[in-house]
Amino acid sequence: MSIKEKQNFQTSQGSESIEYPVNEKEVSIFIKKFYKSNIPLEILGSGSKKKIGKPLQCEKTLSLSKISGIVEYLPEELYIKVKASTPIKIIEEKLKKNKQQLAFEPIDFGFFLNGESDYGTAGGQTACNISGPRRFKVGGIRDHVLGFRGVNGRGEIIKSGGTVVKNVTGYDLSKLICGSYGTLVALTEIVFKTLPAPEDSKTLIIHEQKIDLGLYLLEKSISSSNEVSGAIYFPEDKKTIGYSTNIENTFKLNDLQHKGSLTAVRVEGSKKSINERIENLLKEFKITNQKISILETYQSEMFWNKVKNLEFFSSSKNSIIRISIPPSECTNLIYQLSDKYKYYVDWGGALIWLEAFELSEQMFESIKKKVIKIGGYATMIKNSNYLPYVEDPFTINKDRFNISQNIKKSFDPKQILNPGKMYTGI
């Protein structure tokens, strides 16, 4: 068989095992069928974040890609109701026309996972619950999902929440669905909270700070009343074998005046208020002789888009790990980790994105151990050719595993929805 024939054969085999329901009722019918015959299913939206989590080898794939479209958008009520596979791009365009936004800043994982822009779908973003740089100020995706509809592992259509912000009627299943990687329900409809988009944005960058000082400035800015909405630190770029990323290539911006490490804070709001805030920050930081850059509106937006979309890693072929920690532990952890890794710090010290060349499973486990010890967790977001598979890309302890397993069974007793996507046995 020629290579082309082989590819065609694989494609035709693949497409036979993919089901494309066109509405919620059909999703329910399909899942009921597979529930009866004990057939595990891979649940997919557009597949843009398919590489996150453990690879699945399911007999069938349930593609929700045809369940797409905006159901209802009421700007004055601050919500948008969409079908699960509605592309985030379409939602954001619609909101932009009304000067609104999804405040959690959906990440475009396409660049770094698949080489080209792909925000994926509403359902995919919800299922992965990985939020952008504004998270520490406005909350994550889990704080912006007001309600959902979906089909559980028995094929039953279920819903929770609603369209209003204040709602304590029954358990808050929306939170449970966020970050469940399709292991509890096949999502069919989601209600997102929308918020007014800020009028303007401005970014203050302080150059050439060592990590201790950089993180101290970030902490100071978030602990001030200046309503900072972005706080990151990029260490100085060193040329190291195995790493191709660098700050200069990522941030080609006219007003970025200096080289070296970047400590950046963003403020958003009306023009007058952001100028006032930047002035306050400069005073509070006691900035006199340090090298600084100030990015206005357009460049500020570009800068944070690049940060948000992980463009720093876009050409990387290495393992990428996401580490969430208490911010006070950040500097110490960085010191504890091997200096051959590349990294940058987001959320004012509460999040580290780590790139590791020739990372072994043992090294990953050692990183995880250090992170767990300080009350955090580490997730393998992208595997490398060197380490194409890890046994436990996510972190969990025994108690939470047992509870999670019970919850999984309450939604999906036969474990047919994305089985093992997060943890073996869930």
Partner: protein, 498 residues
């Protein structure tokens, strides 16, 4: 007191009371087990005082291990447990059962850690909401959710009910301000959920237990976010000669991209009641009144107040008063925060309802409430968290009048059904408890409720933790797999259920 159906009473268990007391006294200090009727009577009700029931035993554990031992014991002996914080809840969530142990967290009253570097406070669940702000305000920090009962309500109760407050439009409710918790499940397992990080990996168990009304676990420690106080805050009191104009003004403020830190509305009855109570200087001739508060930098606050003034005038406001200083601003709020006690002047009793509606439907809903008020011949005053759509109609009644409470409950029920009908929900912040239990089917169908019950059972297999709350038990709609279908029709089939 109205009759309330509760889970079947285990008489055999009640007969073993002395034995249970003896056992429990081996787990905690002797004096922390209250078993005499005179000792248990103070705990017979919570903030929903229409319902009363003395528990079999009241117990005050002093640490997490004791909670774990108590739950392990109760799980083994199939004894029902009702957790209780400060007992200020308004939906009967902490109402004891005759054959239950009331597990009081009152001795969990310490702040464990104030961590400015991570901008959080670790507290035991019995600490009051306001104490958290008081513990950090010398460094100009505060805890954002501020329910009206904040001087008395406990932070553990806030987590159990996912309490809100007047600032939740901008700063969110408890669930958005909670970082971690230590909890004990019914089988005695102690678990830590979240911590000092944003988001936790795996299923968001912290999100699930928040607002679970004490049905899934007992909370023994809490970590909450604290925020730096804004540089400037200003509030405006705006009077309107009609409810419609006030409602329209709310919608336009939001449509103009302004998210005030608080936006409250009151109707004429409440304006008078609260103004009589605290002399807040409210516009007594107005039919409706808004308190709008904005925060940020000095310039920003000034800009926003000017914008709001313009929008108010466009919507035919009859008066606008802007706070000149913090003292005056606090005075503006004093009336709103005293809305419930102020109603004590209007009638011997009041019943506070708690639905959420789309903001744009306010005038419509208030019109319906007015109509129902005539139908039931009971006066009503309305407080509305206009920013987030949470409506609190306060129905005035006299509990000495035999049928009055019954009538009031029916009135309240009709209001909540109407809230759901216009796209809202049954409860915004008070919880379902026993009060709205039977109305759950207005919002949810059998599948939805069964899924929730399955989650409950996956964590508490024998349904011993706070039974009889949240989920219907009258078989009116869905309970343990049953759905009531009358003459082939489900109830209110025309009501949109999402």
């Amino acid at each position: 007191m109205t009759k309330l159906s509760m889970p079947k009473i285990d008489r055999k268990l009640i007969s073993k009371k002395d034995e249970i007391v003896k056992d429990l006294r081996k787990l905690v200090k002797f004096e922390n087990v209250l078993d005499h009727e005179d000792q248990t009577r103070p705990f017979e009700t919570d903030g929903l005082s229409a319902y009363k029931q003395k528990p079999l035993i009241v117990i005050f554990p002093e640490n997490t291990n004791e909670v774990s031992k108590i739950l392990t014991y109760c799980n083994k002996h199939r004894i029902k447990v009702v957790p209780r914080g400060a007992g200020t809840g308004l939906s009967g969530g902490a109402l004891p059962l005759e054959d239950s142990i009331l597990l009081c967290l009152g001795k969990f009253n310490k702040i464990i850690d104030i961590d400015y570097k991570n901008r959080c406070v670790v507290a035991q669940p019995g600490v009051t909401n306001l104490s958290i702000t008081q513990a950090v305000q010398d460094k100009d920090f505060y805890y954002a959710p501020d329910p009206s009962s904040q001087i008395a309500c406990s932070i553990g109760g806030n987590v159990a009910e996912n309490s809100g407050g007047v600032h939740s439009l901008k700063y969110g409710t408890t669930t958005n301000n909670l970082l971690g918790a230590e909890v004990v499940f019914m089988d005695g397992t102690i678990s830590r959920l979240g911590g000092k990080t944003f988001d936790s990996e795996g299923y968001d168990l912290l999100g699930l237990i928040t607002g679970s009304e004490g049905l899934l676990c007992v909370i023994t420690e809490i970590t909450v976010k604290i925020l730096k106080e804004p540089q400037a805050i200003k509030a405006a009191i705006i009077g309107f000669s009609s409810i419609e104009d006030g409602g329209q003004c709310v919608s336009e403020i939001i449509a103009n991209g302004i998210i005030p830190s608080g936006m409250e509305m009151m109707d004429k009855a409440l304006i008078h009641a609260t103004d009589n109570f605290v002399k807040a200087g409210y516009p007594r001739d107005a039919e409706s009144m808004l308190i709008v508060e904005v925060d940020g930098t000095e310039t920003e606050v000034q800009e926003l107040i000017e914008k709001i003034e313009k929008i108010a005038k466009k919507n035919k406001s009859s008066s606008i008063k802007i706070s000149k200083n913090d003292k005056q601003r606090m005075k503006f709020w004093a009336g709103r925060k005293a809305a419930f006690p102020a109603c004590g002047d209007l009638a011997p009793d009041y019943y506070c309802m708690d639905g959420t509606i789309p903001r744009g439907k306010l005038a419509l809903v208030l019109k319906e409430i007015k109509k129902l008020s005539k139908k039931y011949n009971l006066p009503v005053a309305n407080a509305f968290h206009a920013g987030d759509g949470n409506l609190h109609p306060l129905i005035m009644y006299d509990s000495n009048n035999k049928d009055s409470l019954d009538k009031t409950e029916k009135f309240g029920e009709e209001i909540l059904k109407y809230c759901v009908k216009v796209g809202g929900v049954l409860t915004g912040e008070h919880g379902v408890g026993v009060e709205k239990r039977e109305l759950m089917c207005e919002m949810f169908n059998n599948n939805d409720i069964q899924q929730q019950i399955k989650i409950k059972k996956s964590l508490d297999g024998s349904s011993l933790l706070n039974p009889g709350k949240v989920y219907p038990i009258l078989r009116k709609c869905a309970e343990e797999g049953r759905v009531h279908v009358h003459q082939g029709k489900t109830k209110f089939s025309d009501i949109p259920r999402f």
